[in-house]
């Protein structure tokens, strides 16, 4: 089941089976001047990305899987097969009945098995330019993000890496970026549009104490920059040999982000745990990698507690305990706090309707009780 089963370039849609990966699809699309922009970093299966509502560095401009899945084919727990938007349907919009497609997007395989996904595809931008800008504080960097969005600049990627992350990134990738809170930005559009977006963004950064922009124009330079960002998890582990890391993921309204990151960083510093902070500030979403030595249970406990306090903080700021990584097992308790008992009960009733014997990915998202 690794085929691209339907491709309509002039309608900007494509339907794929579970074996088709993101990079495989983009390789197929590139000669047509098209691409699928949701980029979680890994070369993931697109149906898998549908099941987890994958996001990534491009979400600030192109959305997550939620905004880009038009239809799915589902095999239900009892073996019946159906299409969430109707068989073969691929209109860009619809008001026909319940939005079942988005019910399955992000359901982590608990409601049914996804055997096809119909995706919205986009024209490859005529010009893509990346830039790196260092700031005196994390707050300055996040403020710039808020201001860039408020200025209606259609920024394609805006990612934060704190000083801890930048140091590890430099060492691992043999780069020489400034070791300071840094924004990695990318602009997409026509040549004129990119130039004016970039100029405006540079002015905003400068106003907030940002350094001169370091630009990357050519494909290989941009790829090197984003690879350094995408590889950060491995970089963190390599920089701390023998250690593991708890990866956290919270998302809040953007205006709440500066406080959330500041409180989190202070918490991390006090605990003595190594914990670089980075992420998709354009979405109000950030991650930390809390490093612990598996031979020292007290370090793991500290890291766990940090993660827990972070999730609670995010919930208190009207945010979510998981922006991208899902509930799985680890965040079941937070889901209850986030949704409230009625929200959980409604989810369970949907689950009972579609999977009464609790066969599909049991033990995840909520308990069967």
């Amino acid at each position: 089941m690794d085929q691209i089963v339907d491709f309509n370039p002039e309608d900007f849609d494509v339907t794929v089976q579970p074996g088709v990966t993101r990079k495989g699809l983009n390789h197929f699309l590139k000669d047509h001047g098209l691409w699928f922009p949701v980029d979680p970093g890994a070369d993931a299966s697109l149906c898998g990305m549908t099941a987890t509502s994958a996001s990534g560095t491009n979400a600030v401009r192109y959305g997550t899987m939620r905004e880009n899945v038009l239809n799915t084919e589902i095999v239900l727990a009892d073996g019946r097969i159906f299409c969430t938007a109707g068989n073969g349907r691929r209109s860009k919009k619809s008001s026909a009945g319940f939005n079942l497609t988005n019910l399955f997007v992000g359901s982590e395989g608990s409601l049914g098995f996804i055997t096809k996904t119909t995706l919205k595809i986009y024209g490859i931008p005529e010009m893509m330019v990346s830039a790196v800008c260092a700031f005196p504080t994390v707050k300055a960097a996040v403020d710039v993000c808020v201001q860039v969005l408020q200025s209606n600049i259609p920024i394609a990627r805006i990612e934060l890496m704190d000083d801890v992350a930048m140091e590890m990134c430099n060492n691992h990738n043999k780069l020489d970026y400034e070791v300071a809170p840094t924004l990695f930005l990318e602009f997409h559009g026509t040549e004129e549009s990119v130039k004016s977006q970039a100029k405006f963004a540079a002015e905003i950064a400068d106003y907030n104490g940002g350094s001169q922009f370091r630009w990357a124009y050519e494909t290989e330079e941009r790829n090197r920059l984003w690879k350094a960002r995408h590889d950060i998890y491995w970089t963190v582990l390599q920089s701390n040999p023998g250690c593991r890391a708890i990866v956290t993921d919270v998302c809040v309204p953007i205006t709440c982000l500066p406080d959330l990151i500041a409180q989190t960083k202070s918490d991390i510093q006090q605990s003595g745990i190594i914990g670089p902070c980075l992420g998709h500030v354009g979405d109000g979403n950030f991650h930390t990698f809390l490093v612990f030595n598996p031979n020292k249970p007290e370090e793991f406990k500290k890291a766990e507690n940090l993660a827990s306090r972070m999730a609670n903080r995010a919930l208190d700021l009207n945010g979510t305990c998981t922006g991208e990584h899902g509930i799985g097992i680890g965040k079941m308790a937070y889901l209850e706090k986030e949704m409230g008992p009625l929200g959980i009960e409604i989810m369970k009733s949907i689950k009972r309707t579609l999977d009464p014997h609790w066969l599909m990915n049991p033990g995840k998202i909520f308990s069967s009780a």
């Binding site: 047509h32 024209g123 490859i124 050519e218």
Partner: protein, 254 residues
């Protein structure tokens, strides 16, 4: 500098496709199989386009030899930034036995007819892995050659080229006109964008026959048989290091 660059682009089976040998062992299955531009040729086109953006080149001519579908490959080259295309149509059995020497003769003749200053081709095609066309073309034209290029700089009427060789990197200076073949690390090619694909439809593609270039494409080789590589044999597990050493000795390796 205001160079006119000729870039050779070959239509090959896409690198992501799993190759299947025909049951009669006469060749590989190409019917209904995805084809695309040879990746090294994409790098060649990208380099030419970058030279045009830097105002070192004034015109890029893309050339492809093969069946009618080569026009798609040429359109991709045009969408990436080439100005016009030349398609030398060769189809059927004659296409199956085309060799680098045939292509080199065509490139050499085109270089003269079109007043070319620089020929860039991919260092090899991913179907035959020959790595001969650039070298033969240079010899036919009596031009210098810079093969396996990983960096090209234009300096006062000549090119300084860094070549990837077995021992590492070699930097040479070649006078123009010259033939260059592109290696993997020369650049990362851009994607063709929708507006450029639209614009490319209007760019001209000239159609020629091998005869127009004075090239005889009758086969110089005969394909006897094409077979898949032998199936990998299963390995064996041993309990411990001593047993491994015994096994190695028994197999005559220690």
């Amino acid at each position: 500098m205001s160079l006119r660059i000729l870039v050779g682009v070959k239509r090959v089976i896409d690198y992501a496709v799993k190759i299947r040998v025909k049951p009669d062992k006469s060749g590989v299955i190409t019917e209904g199989v995805k084809h695309s531009m040879n990746p090294f040729d994409e790098i060649a086109i990208e380099e030419a386009v970058r030279m045009k953006e830097k105002k070192i080149a004034k015109e890029i001519v893309a050339f492809s030899c093969g069946p009618a579908q080569c026009q798609e490959t040429l359109r991709t080259a045009l969408a990436m930034g080439a100005d016009r295309g030349i398609h030398v149509e060769v189809a059927g059995p004659q296409f199956d036995t085309l060799q680098p020497l045939h292509i080199s003769k065509m490139l050499a003749q085109l270089a003269k007819d079109e007043q070319i200053d620089l020929i860039i081709v991919g260092k090899q095609a991913i179907d035959d892995d020959c790595n001969q066309t650039a070298q033969m073309t240079a010899a036919l034209l009596d031009w210098p050659q810079a093969t396996s290029a990983s960096k090209i700089e234009a300096k006062d009427g000549s090119l300084q080229v860094v070549r990837e060789i077995d021992g590492g990197l070699e930097t040479i200076k070649v006078k123009l006109p010259t033939v260059v073949s592109a290696d993997l690390r020369l650049n990362e090619p851009r994607y063709a964008t929708l507006p450029n694909i639209m614009k490319a439809k209007k760019k001209p593609i000239k159609k020629l026959t091998p005869k127009d270039l004075g090239v005889d494409v009758s086969p110089r080789i005969e394909v006897v048989t094409v077979e898949e590589p032998p199936v990998r044999l299963a390995g064996a597990k041993v309990e411990n290091v001593d047993m491994m050493v015994e096994k190695l000795k028994a197999l005559g390796h220690a």
